[in-house]
């Protein structure tokens, strides 16, 4: 397992390997310190030794003291070193992505790139999950003024990216189903509704704490309809683009509507969870101020550039070979409270679709790995989640959002 956890304030990058190496170095420091103590005690008897023996003993004592200091320092600096690695890696990938971008849309540049030392085989071998392409997409997203692009596209003939009014209806007409509280990130991922046409896109869980206060968890599916022109499905590309641009996406409004209809009252805290576009929804709820959001959890979402309110635990899980998170641009500086968990998609959990590293099944596997991680920030985040639900049980309802035509919207009074 090679989870890489970034952010969370004091520590920038930490992996299970790193934690292991730190433990080993501390053990080395402790053992060598013990030996150093023995040699110091021996040196106290140097009147017994010849001059040469005393001299080499003193040298051993110095080397051991230095070794203790070095091991302790290295253990302390390991995180900083790993962070430096992260930044260096980004620089290298930025260079690679630049070449990849040039080679793709402008084939004539291929010969030039070959002259620059980039092989043609390297170009043709690139796929959408290649780190270079993922980095290229991130770079591209950084460069694109998305709100401006939305305005431009809307000016074109047709209804591309035109937002509509939405509504949300319960899929389960009977009384809420009772379920246990999520045990960790793995359960959160598994509870996200699958992105399937005509199926519920939202799962809402209501927790009643011993003091009578209500806490809510809302899970949002990923993109269902990939067309830019909105139909009836709010989990579409219009919501994707509008949501990433910081606009009022139909899917986000449907999620808030579902919460309200499920009984959520203003002021009651909500933990939003989502995969892909569902992460846009979750992050938008966190940033909208509509509810207190103590934590937000996203899987494979293009929300890297969005800053959630101070005090919100922001857990973002990204597969390094998943191009979708890159569409959110470069991650924010690591000084904020975001926990960015990165890992290549587990080989046996890759999907079979167009974006195998993006599928929810793979993220569910990574989430399960997060649940057994001893990273203190993940441990703390799991603790916060457990405290939030109070251990359950949850009243579960499933919801389906729909876009409304102008006529339907006028009749229902729903707004955009």
């Amino acid at each position: 397992m090679t989870l890489e956890v970034s952010g969370g304030g004091s520590v920038a990058v930490e992996t299970e390997d790193l934690l292991g190496a730190r433990r080993e170095l501390r053990e080395v420091a402790q053992r060598v310190d013990g030996i150093h103590g023995q040699v110091r005690a021996a040196l106290a008897c140097t009147e017994l030794a010849t001059g040469a023996a005393a001299q080499v003993l003193a040298r051993a004592e110095n080397e051991l003291a230095d070794a203790v200091r070095e091991a302790e320092l290295l253990a302390c600096e390991l995180e900083a070193a790993a962070e430096a690695y992260g930044w260096a890696e980004r620089v290298v990938l930025a260079q690679q992505q630049l070449l990849a971008r040039l080679a793709g849309p402008v084939p004539e540049l291929g010969a030039l790139l070959v002259a620059l030392g980039v092989s043609a085989a390297q170009h043709s071998a690139l796929t959408v999950g290649d780190p270079q392409i993922v980095a290229a997409l991130r770079h591209l997203a950084d460069a694109v003024n998305l709100p401006g692009l939305v305005v431009l596209v809307r000016a074109l003939p047709g209804d591309a990216l035109e937002e509509t009014a939405v509504t949300a209806s319960p899929v389960t007409a009977s009384a809420p189903r009772i379920d246990r509280a999520p045990g960790g990130f793995g359960d959160l991922a598994k509870r996200i509704p699958p992105a399937q046409a005509g199926q519920p896109q939202l799962r809402v869980e209501k927790y009643t704490l011993p003091d009578g206060e209500h806490h809510w968890v809302v899970y949002s599916a990923g993109t269902i309809d990939w067309s830019l022109e909105p139909g009836t499905e709010p989990w579409d590309d219009t919501s994707n683009v509008v949501g990433v641009a910081g606009g009022s996406a139909g899917s986000t409004r449907a999620a808030i509507e579902a919460l309200k209809r499920a009984g959520w009252k203003s002021g009651e805290p909500v933990v939003p969870v989502g995969h892909s576009q569902g992460g846009i929804v979750a992050t938008a709820i966190a940033t909208s101020g509509v509810a207190p959001v103590p934590a937000v959890v996203t899987f494979g979402s293009p929300t890297a550039g969005v800053r959630v309110p101070r005090g919100t635990v922001d857990v973002a899980v990204e597969h390094t070979d998943d191009p979708v998170p890159a569409l959110g641009g470069s991650p924010r500086p690591l000084v904020d409270a975001r926990l960015l968990v990165r890992e290549a998609t587990p080989a046996d959990a890759r999907g079979s679709g167009v974006l195998p590293a993006h599928e929810l099944t793979g993220y569910a596997r990574t989430a399960a790995e997060m649940d057994v991680s001893s990273d203190p920030r993940l441990v703390a985040a799991r603790g916060k989640l457990a405290a939030f639900t109070g251990g359950g049980p949850a009243e579960v309802t499933l919801w389906r959002g729909e876009r409304l035509s102008e006529g339907q919207a006028a009749g229902s009074g729903a707004g955009r």
Binding site: D17, G20, A21, E24, L25, E27, V28, R31, V32, G34, I35, Q38, V39, A41, A42, C45, L48, A49, T50, A52, A53, V56, L57, R59, A60, E63, L64, D66, A67, E70, A71, L74, L78, A81, A82, E83, A84, Y85, G86, A88, E89, V92
Partner: protein
Amino acid sequence: MTVLSAEHERQRAALRARVRAAEAELLPVYRLLPDRGLWAGPAGWAFRLRIDGLRERIDAAWAALAAAEAEL
């Protein structure tokens, strides 16, 4: 005088045993050092250098202890 010299020799032998014990305890420490090839990339390179430096210090301490034992 003879008694003093014998006591001195006994203490030197005890000291030599302590130095030998320190040497023996130092050897397993090598196995505790983290894998120097743990990471790729620039920080991995820096990490390897640091681990190599630590190993060299332990080498030097061990050599000094061995030399001290020989001198005692």
